[in-house]
């Protein structure tokens, strides 16, 4: 193995390990890092949806964007660029979030869930692989969202990093505009949104992951895509590293528990676990990167990727406002009935609609 492959393997191991440490320090189980879940929490913190259990301004996301920004500035890779079907990418970001919330996690959380022994995540992985395969099918037929242009001004590239920096400032300062109703930020009092590692540790973890992922170009959909497309295993090694890093620490901390049922923040509707991540894999492949990679690109000045990130945040608000997100399975407790979990009918329709929309985009954007 050459140096680059060792570096991405070590990067994966570190990210997997950090994720489990964050769970140990208070983040939700098997959710040390989940790009989709945390962007959804941010949508809630901003009051864009009213699901009281998933509202928090996650410092990990802020850290990833700022970490990628600083790293790309030092590496001379920061370039303000955009203009490659930006609105279409925004919509694709919304659907990528719908897929993720039907499954209950982005590809990164899928790996972390597998490393926690959650078999539902294996079903999700199969869907993800098939979705990426579907994306490759369109790529081989000339799919192209068009060229991005470098801007004569660097300002555009700084917009998303500045927004997250302002959100970080508001989080740290703890300002409350309206003492009665709360805000500008809303915080869960119970549920996953209330489970948080200490702010500065989460931020530091985000910065480190932003640095590592920017340098190695780590991308979960890219790992499977490159292997299907040309048997290149570079990114896939990072994928495997995350799994191993998280697996070892999950076993060490006693978090590892195999099975379909009793898994934290998960459901066992196999077809929707499959189709949810199928939609994410397909969309990510057409976009050129998974939710994590979109955050990194946003930090590097890619405004098209920033549009995807904003689309995902709005998509999360849509999911919770319109009952599209799946609910987690819960065992019966005294006085509380068991919840089977999974997406409701509207979430199922939205997920299938998303796959159809991606197929239409995939077919329509072919180059001749």
């Amino acid at each position: 193995m050459d140096r680059g492959k060792w570096f991405i393997l070590i990067t994966g191991l570190i990210i997997g390990a950090i994720a489990v440490v964050l769970v140990k320090l208070g983040n939700p189980p098997n959710m040390g890092f989940c790009i989709a879940c945390f962007e959804r929490d941010i949508a809630g913190a901003l009051g864009l949806h009213r699901a009281g259990v998933v509202q928090y301004m996650r410092p990990e996301i802020i850290g990833i964007v700022l970490g990628a920004l600083l790293t790309s500035l030092f590496a001379g890779e920061f370039r303000s660029r955009g203009g490659s079907a930006t609105l279409v990418r925004f919509i694709m970001g919304m659907f990528m979030m719908i897929g993720a919330l039907v499954f209950l996690g982005c590809p990164l959380r899928d790996v972390l869930r597998m490393a926690g022994g959650d078999y539902n995540a294996v079903v999700g992985l199969l869907g993800f692989i098939c979705g990426v395969g579907g994306g490759v099918w369109f790529l081989r037929r000339g799919f192209n969202l068009g060229r991005a242009e470098e801007s004569h001004s660097k300002l555009g590239g700084y917009v998303l990093p500045v927004i997250v920096a302002i959100l970080l400032f508001i989080l740290l300062k703890g300002t409350i505009f309206n003492p009665e109703a709360g805000g500008p930020l809303f915080f869960s009092k119970e549920g996953p949104g209330s489970m948080t590692a200490p702010i500065l540790i989460s931020l530091a973890a985000g910065l480190l992951v932003g640095f590592l992922a920017q340098r190695t170009r780590l991308c979960l959909s890219g790992g499977i895509r490159d292997f299907i497309l040309m048997r290149d295993n570079y990114l896939l090694i990072g994928f495997i590293g995350i799994f191993l890093g998280a697996l070892v620490l999950n076993i060490a901390f006693g978090f590892f528990k195999t099975g379909f049922s009793g898994q934290p923040i998960a459901h066992s509707m196999h077809i929707w676990n499959f189709l949810g991540l199928f939609l994410v894999g397909l969309t990510a492949t057409l976009l050129g990167g998974c939710p994590l990679r979109q955050l990194i690109l946003s930090g590097e000045g890619d405004t098209d990727a920033a549009a995807v990130v904003l689309g995902m945040i709005i998509g999360a608000a849509v999911c919770h406002n319109f009952m599209l997100a799946a609910s987690a399975a819960k065992a019966a407790a005294p006085g509380v009935a068991a919840v089977a979990g999974g997406p409701g009918i509207y979430g199922q329709i939205a997920c299938v609609a998303g796959i159809v929309v991606m197929a239409i985009i995939g077919w329509s954007f072919r180059e001749e």
């Binding site: 590496a75 001379g76 890779e77 370039r79 660029r81 490659s84 790529l139 081989r140 192209n144 969202l145 060229r147 991005a148 242009e149 470098e150 170009r217 991308c219 890219g222 895509r225 490159d226 497309l229 040309m230 290149d232 570079y234 976009l287 050129g288 990167g289 098209d304």
Partner: protein, 69 residues
């Protein structure tokens, strides 16, 4: 010499377009691109396909390479 312009394209199109030129049997390909990532990916592809990489312009945000077999 075949010319492939991959400037501004998102992943993995730079690699796909270069690979297409290789598959068509081009033994000399000039590739121009605008991101460090695409340069790394195309260099890796060239290595596996036994093409020699000659760097004509080394600016990582505006590069030109010649692939020769």
């Amino acid at each position: 010499m075949e010319k492939v312009d991959v400037r501004g394209l998102s992943c993995p199109l730079p690699v796909i377009k270069t690979k297409k030129a290789m598959d068509q049997g081009a033994s000399e390909i000039l590739v121009v691109g605008s991101t460090a990532v695409s340069l790394e990916n195309i260099s890796r592809l060239a290595q596996t396909r036994a093409y020699q990489v000659n760097i004509k312009k080394a600016d990582k945000n505006d590069w030109e390479i010649e692939l020769v077999k």
